[in-house]
Amino acid sequence: MFTTFLRTVALGVRSLLLHKLRSFLTMLGILFGVASVVAMLAIGEGASEEAQAKFLELGSTNVIARSRKPSADSDSSAGMAARNARGVIYGLTFKDLDVIRGTISGVERVVGVRSVLKPTAHGSRNVEARLSGTTEDFLDVARVEIDRGRFLTTSDNLRRANVTVIGEEVRRQLFPFEDPIAKHIAIGGESFEVVGTMRSRGGASEKNFEGSDEDKVCFIPLATMETRFGFIDMQRSAGSRSTEQVELHEVRVRALSLDAVPDVAQAVRDVLKRLHEKDDVEVIVPLELLRTVEEQKRIWKAVLAAIAGISLLVGGIGVMNVMLATVTERTREIGVRRALGAKKRHVISQFLVETLGLSTAGGAIGVFLGIAIPFVVEHYADMKTVVRWDAVGLAFGISALVGVVFGLYPAMRAASMDPVEALRHE
């Protein structure tokens, strides 16, 4: 039985090879259908994985409030009122931090961060690094890891100690050859002792959410920052000088669980709305963003499924059309085979095998192309792509299914021919 099947397959393959160009053209529809679906799925999957990684980096149980410079025309009276001799005042305050800490339930940690750019130097080497003032529990709300030494402690903040933990990029630039621990570096004119180094957060995504280098950072105690540098930040842009006053750039709130995130997010939004008349803070909820990405992915997949469906339908119709022509063309052969003892099922399997051969060959080449395209895209367009093997299997399976569905009718038609009529056919 099995060898009969193999011989039927061999017969079908030969018959397809007899008309190579025709067979190739016939399988093009399915080929491109499968190729485009596999490729687009890989690209879409890559994009969403990249986005998901980005948001996961922010911490899925976190709710992050950030200071945002209000646009000049957003609320002009309030904007003017906030402008005093010292420049623009906006953003998160220590009061916000206290209120969030004191009134919102379901919260595990609330951590404030103040970040400014400061020239940082060691000996003759220097680098413009982001200086982040924060507290010891920053470690719990951010995906940072200590490489050597230690992170900031409670006592660092209480003592307002001049200690710093430096990022990998700062270490690389300031201490290319020596051990930075216990060395002193100059940050914004003040001397700080390096007590620890961070592990690199680089890899594929070197840029963080805002595009600044994650590793080009120095952490110091928030209290020290307040004492040494105050809240006023001088900015030079296009020849004009402006100052702005921001107490905190970021407040990270970590919810007790994933389930608590939506409530915590709402509570943070409510509190900030109450405390800020101006539109000078924004709340980022990584979990919501993740959900959005997932939603987009679902839509992308639905669109792809529609495209796949249409292209495979078109491909299948093409295959069916050619097979119907083949059946007509080979009516006499069918009659002869029937006269020589072929049963209907023999004829059906003969033509079904041919259609299946066309569609699965198209599917196989399509899969190959569909895997090759993301490779090229990844190489030249610098996009992450992920070829999911279940998607490949599905696309190939569907191409085989197309072969059966669209091959069945021509095959049945061939089999149902009256042998006498078929033999008379010219």
Binding site: R7, L18, E333, R337, A342, K344, V420
Partner: protein
């Protein structure tokens, strides 16, 4: 000619060759009992066969003659189980096949019948050998055995050296030889030929008829439709059809001495 090697058939047909004097001893292998075949064309009914009865014994050589449209092909298709009679019984090897379903008929065609067509009807993409193998494939004969048998029959019809050629690389006569080998390869009960020489020039036609004569001498049963009285002369019996009815059955040129004329029913 290679045909002389045909004598290896071991069944009792071989001993009951066409020249055997006592036809009565040969069993009836095919019997038509009042078979009718009509076609409905719109609201008129065409009676292509209108009550035909006769018996064919093992080893017989029959010619079916008659004017165009008299029902020769229709009869041959019925005898070949390609078609079913509208009425009547048709017994092949003792079984009534008139009532069988499509699969059974296919099986009977594959096992008990061999067809030779006017236009050869070889499958053009297959080689000579593969064409001869086709009936064996549907019998589920293993590939190796099928190949050996096909090779043997190719040699038998004198094409042992051409087995890997395609049909279109052969002359008409050679193609018809392939078709004959294909009709023989399943060792059928009856060989059915519809104007087997109709597409050949007279010399080649004679060659093919010579081959059929040899096969008959080896004990094979042959039923052949023809227009040509000379061809009919080679048969033992000539069945003349007229308007779907048997006009008469008469002894052919090879009619063995002393054998009774088959009775008409």
């Amino acid at each position: 000619m290679a045909v002389s090697e045909l004598g290896d058939r071991t069944d009792n047909a071989a001993s009951a060759g066409g020249s055997a004097p006592h036809g009565e001893e040969r069993p009836v292998i095919l019997e038509a009992r009042d078979i009718r075949r009509s076609y409905r064309m719109g609201d008129t009914v065409v009676h292509a066969l209108d009550g035909v009865s006769f018996q064919v014994r093992q080893g017989d050589y029959w010619a079916i003659m008659g004017q165009s449209g008299s029902g020769k092909s229709t009869l041959l298709n019925l005898l070949g189980c390609l078609d079913r009679p509208t009425e009547g019984a048709y017994l092949l090897g003792g079984d009534d096949v008139a009532q069988l379903d499509d699969d059974d008929l296919a099986e009977i065609r594959g096992q008990r019948l061999g067809f030779i067509f006017q236009s050869f009807n070889l499958i053009l993409q297959l080689t000579v050998l593969e064409n001869i193998e086709v009936p064996l494939f549907y019998q589920g004969i293993p590939a190796r055995e099928a190949r050996e048998r096909a090779q043997r029959y190719a040699e038998l019809v004198g094409l042992g050296g051409r087995t890997h050629h395609r049909p279109l690389e052969l002359s008409g006569g050679q193609q018809q030889r392939v078709a004959i080998a294909r009709a023989l390869v399943n060792e059928p009960l009856v060989i059915l030929a519809d104007e087997a020489t109709g597409n050949l020039d007279s010399a080649t036609g004679r060659e093919i008829l010579g081959l059929l004569d040899q096969l008959h001498l080896q004990g094979r049963t042959i039923i052949m439709v023809t227009h040509d009285p000379n061809i009919a002369n080679r048969a033992e019996w000539v069945l003349r059809l007229k308007d779907g009815k048997i006009d008469r059955i008469e002894p052919g040129g090879k009619h063995p001495e002393g054998v009774r004329t088959p009775e008409r029913h």
